[in-house]
C-alpha cells in the first residue's frame, strides 16, 4: 500500500497510559500513522490491543497521554466535538456487533441515516452498492443478522464500516473464527476497501498471514507497551527474540 512519507499524520499517539483500578493495561504507547497507511497491531490475548483501539475510538478515556486524530487532540475534547471527529472513523468489532433488530441494509446505512435522513429506497440502493463491492448477494439485504453466516456477518460489518467513506478504518480481529479461505477473502476486502476509499487503516489481528497481506506497518503490543514496530517484511526477518517467539507461537511455519 502507500508508503509516501510526505503524507500528513492521521493518527498520532504519545505516551498513552491506561489502567483499570490498580491494573496497568497500557503505558508509554507511542506510534503514528500516515494518511493511506495500513497498520496491523499484533499481540497476545489480553495484551491490551482492544483497549488501545477503544481508547482511539473514544469508548475509553486514557489516564494520561495524547491521541491526535487529524491533528485534533481527542483526550478531554468536549463530547460534541469528539463525536464529530469520530464520524470520520469506520469500525468493525471483533464479533461484528451488527444490530440484531435491524435488517442488513438498515445496519449498513445506520451511520449515514443518522447524519442525513435518507428515504428507504435510497438507503437500500446505497446498501446494495456497498454489498456488491464486497461480493455479497443482494438477497441478504432484507435478512436479519442472525439469518446469515458468521463470515457474511463479518463482511456486512465491513460494509457498515466503509459506508459513508470514512477517513480511518479500524478492524478488530476481522478474520478471527473464520476458515483460512474466508479469512483471505476478508483480507482482500479490507485491502480493496482501504484502496477504493483511500482510507487509513488499523487492524488488530493474530493472523500473521493476514498481517503480510494487509499491512504496511506492524506494531507488537507486549508487556503493556509497543515492544516492536516495523514493516511486515522486517518482522519476518527480525532477530528480536520477543517478536520471533511471538510469531512462532502463532504460526511456527512462518519461521520454518
Amino acid at each position: 500500500m502507500n508508503k509516501n512519507k510526505t503524507k500528513k499524520t492521521i493518527l498520532d499517539i504519545k505516551n498513552l497510559k491506561k489502567t483499570f483500578g490498580n491494573n496497568v493495561i497500557l503505558e508509554n504507547i507511542n506510534f503514528n500513522l500516515l494518511e493511506g497507511e495500513s497498520l496491523a497491531i499484533i499481540g497476545a490475548s489480553g495484551s491490551g490491543k482492544s483497549v488501545l483501539l477503544k481508547n482511539i475510538i473514544g469508548l475509553l478515556d486514557p489516564d494520561s497521554g495524547s491521541i491526535k486524530i487529524n491533528s485534533t487532540e481527542m483526550v478531554n475534547l468536549p463530547r460534541r466535538d469528539k463525536e464529530n471527529i469520530l464520524l470520520q472513523l469506520g469500525i468493525t468489532f471483533q464479533h461484528g456487533a451488527l444490530f440484531d433488530s435491524l435488517r442488513i441494509w438498515e445496519n449498513i446505512i445506520f451511520k449515514v441515516q443518522n447524519q442525513q435522513k435518507i428515504s428507504k429506497v435510497n438507503g437500500r440502493k446505497l446498501a446494495l452498492s456497498i454489498i456488491e463491492r464486497l461480493s455479497l448477494k443482494p438477497e441478504i439485504l432484507d435478512l436479519f443478522p442472525s439469518e446469515i453466516s458468521g463470515g457474511m456477518q463479518k463482511r456486512v460489518a465491513i460494509a457498515r464500516a466503509i459506508c459513508g467513506n470514512p477517513k480511518i478504518l479500524l478492524f478488530d480481529e476481522p478474520t478471527s473464527g473464520l476458515d483460512p479461505v474466508t479469512g483471505s477473502v476478508i483480507d482482500k476486502l479490507i485491502t480493496s476497501a482501504v484502496n477504493t476509499i483511500g482510507a487509513t487503516a488499523i487492524t488488530i489481528t493474530h493472523d500473521m498471514a493476514s498481517v503480510s497481506r494487509i499491512a504496511d506497518k506492524v506494531i507488537l503490543i507486549d508487556n503493556k507497551t509497543v515492544a516492536w514496530s516495523g514493516t511486515p517484511k522486517e518482522m519476518m526477518t527480525s532477530n528480536n527474540l520477543r517478536i520471533k517467539e511471538f510469531i512462532k507461537t502463532i504460526n511456527p511455519k512462518l519461521f520454518a
Binding site: K54, L86, A97, L98
Partner: protein
C-alpha cells in the same frame, strides 16, 4: 482472629460495592432523564415501545387484575358476612383495586414481562459490543436505546393501570353478581358512588412512578452487564427483583404521602 477479619473485610467490601452501585444508579438515572428532553427524539422507537409495553402487556395485566378482583370480592364477602356488612363488598373491591392492587399488580406484571425483556435486550447488546458500535456510529446509546424505553414506560403504565383497575372491578362485579347474588344495579351504584378522584390520581402517580422504576432499573442492569451470557442472566434476574422490591417500597411511600 483471621476469620473474623476476613468476614468483616468481606462485609465492608460488599457494602462499599453496594454504595457504589447506588451512586452509579442515580448518576445513570440523571443522565437518562436528561437525554429524554434533548433532540433528536426517536419517535419510531417510542411508538414501538408503547405498543410492546402498552398493548402486549394487556392480556397478562387483564388476567391478573380480573382474578384478583374476583378473589377480593369472594374473600371480602366471606369475611364481612360475619358482621352483616356484605353491602360494603363493592366499596372494598373498588378501593383496594384502585388504590393498591391495580397499580401494584400491573407494576409487578410489567416488571416481569417488560423489565426482564429490556434488561436482557440491552445486556445482550452490551456483551456483543452493539452498544459500543452505536457510540461509534454517530448515535448516543442513552438517547437511542434508553430514552424511548423510559418515555414509553412512564406513558403506558397509567393507561395499563386504568384498564387493569376497570377489569379488576369487573372481576369483583362478576363474582358479586353471578356467585354471591348481589343486585347488579345496587352493586354498580355502590361502585360508582364510592369512586373518588384522589384514588384515581394516586393510582396514576403510582403507575407513572412504577413505569419510571421498571425502565430505569432494567436499563441500568442491562447497560452495565458484563461477563457474557452469565451477565445477561444476572442483569435480567436483578432487574426483576430490584424493580419488584422498589415497586413495593415506593407504593408505601406514595400511599403515605396521599393518605398518611
Amino acid at each position: 482472629m483471621k476469620i473474623i477479619i476476613n468476614i468483616v473485610g468481606s462485609i465492608g467490601h460488599k457494602s462499599l460495592k453496594f454504595i457504589a452501585h447506588i451512586g452509579n444508579f442515580f448518576l445513570f438515572c440523571l443522565s437518562a432523564i436528561s437525554w429524554i428532553f434533548r433532540p433528536p427524539w426517536y419517535f419510531k422507537k417510542i411508538i414501538f415501545q408503547v405498543v410492546d409495553i402498552g398493548y402486549f402487556s394487556l392480556p397478562v395485566v387483564g388476567l391478573t387484575t380480573f382474578f384478583s378482583g374476583m378473589v377480593l370480592a369472594l374473600q371480602t364477602y366471606n369475611g364481612f358476612t360475619e358482621f352483616n356488612s356484605e353491602s360494603t363488598v363493592a366499596r372494598v373491591v373498588l378501593t383496594s383495586i384502585t388504590r393498591e392492587l391495580g397499580p401494584v399488580l400491573t407494576g409487578l406484571m410489567v416488571a416481569g414481562r417488560i423489565g426482564a425483556k429490556m434488561a436482557a435486550e440491552i445486556a445482550t447488546m452490551r456483551v456483543t459490543e452493539q452498544i459500543d458500535a452505536l457510540s461509534t456510529l454517530g448515535t448516543r446509546p442513552m438517547q437511542y436505546l434508553i430514552a424511548p424505553k423510559i418515555i414509553a414506560s412512564v406513558l403506558c403504565l397509567p393507561f395499563l393501570v386504568f384498564i387493569g383497575n376497570t377489569i379488576g372491578i369487573l372481576g369483583g362485579y362478576t363474582i358479586a353478581i353471578f356467585k354471591l347474588d348481589f343486585n347488579p344495579n345496587l352493586y354498580l351504584y355502590a361502585t360508582i358512588d364510592n369512586l373518588q378522584w384522589i384514588d384515581l390520581v394516586q393510582g396514576s402517580v403510582k403507575a407513572a412512578t412504577f413505569g419510571l422504576i421498571i425502565s430505569m432499573v432494567s436499563c441500568y442492569f442491562g447497560f452495565y452487564a458484563s461477563k457474557g451470557a452469565e451477565g445477561v442472566g444476572y442483569a435480567t434476574t436483578a432487574s426483576v427483583v430490584v424493580s419488584s422490591v422498589m415497586i413495593l417500597t415506593s407504593t408505601y411511600i406514595i400511599t403515605a404521602l396521599f393518605f398518611g
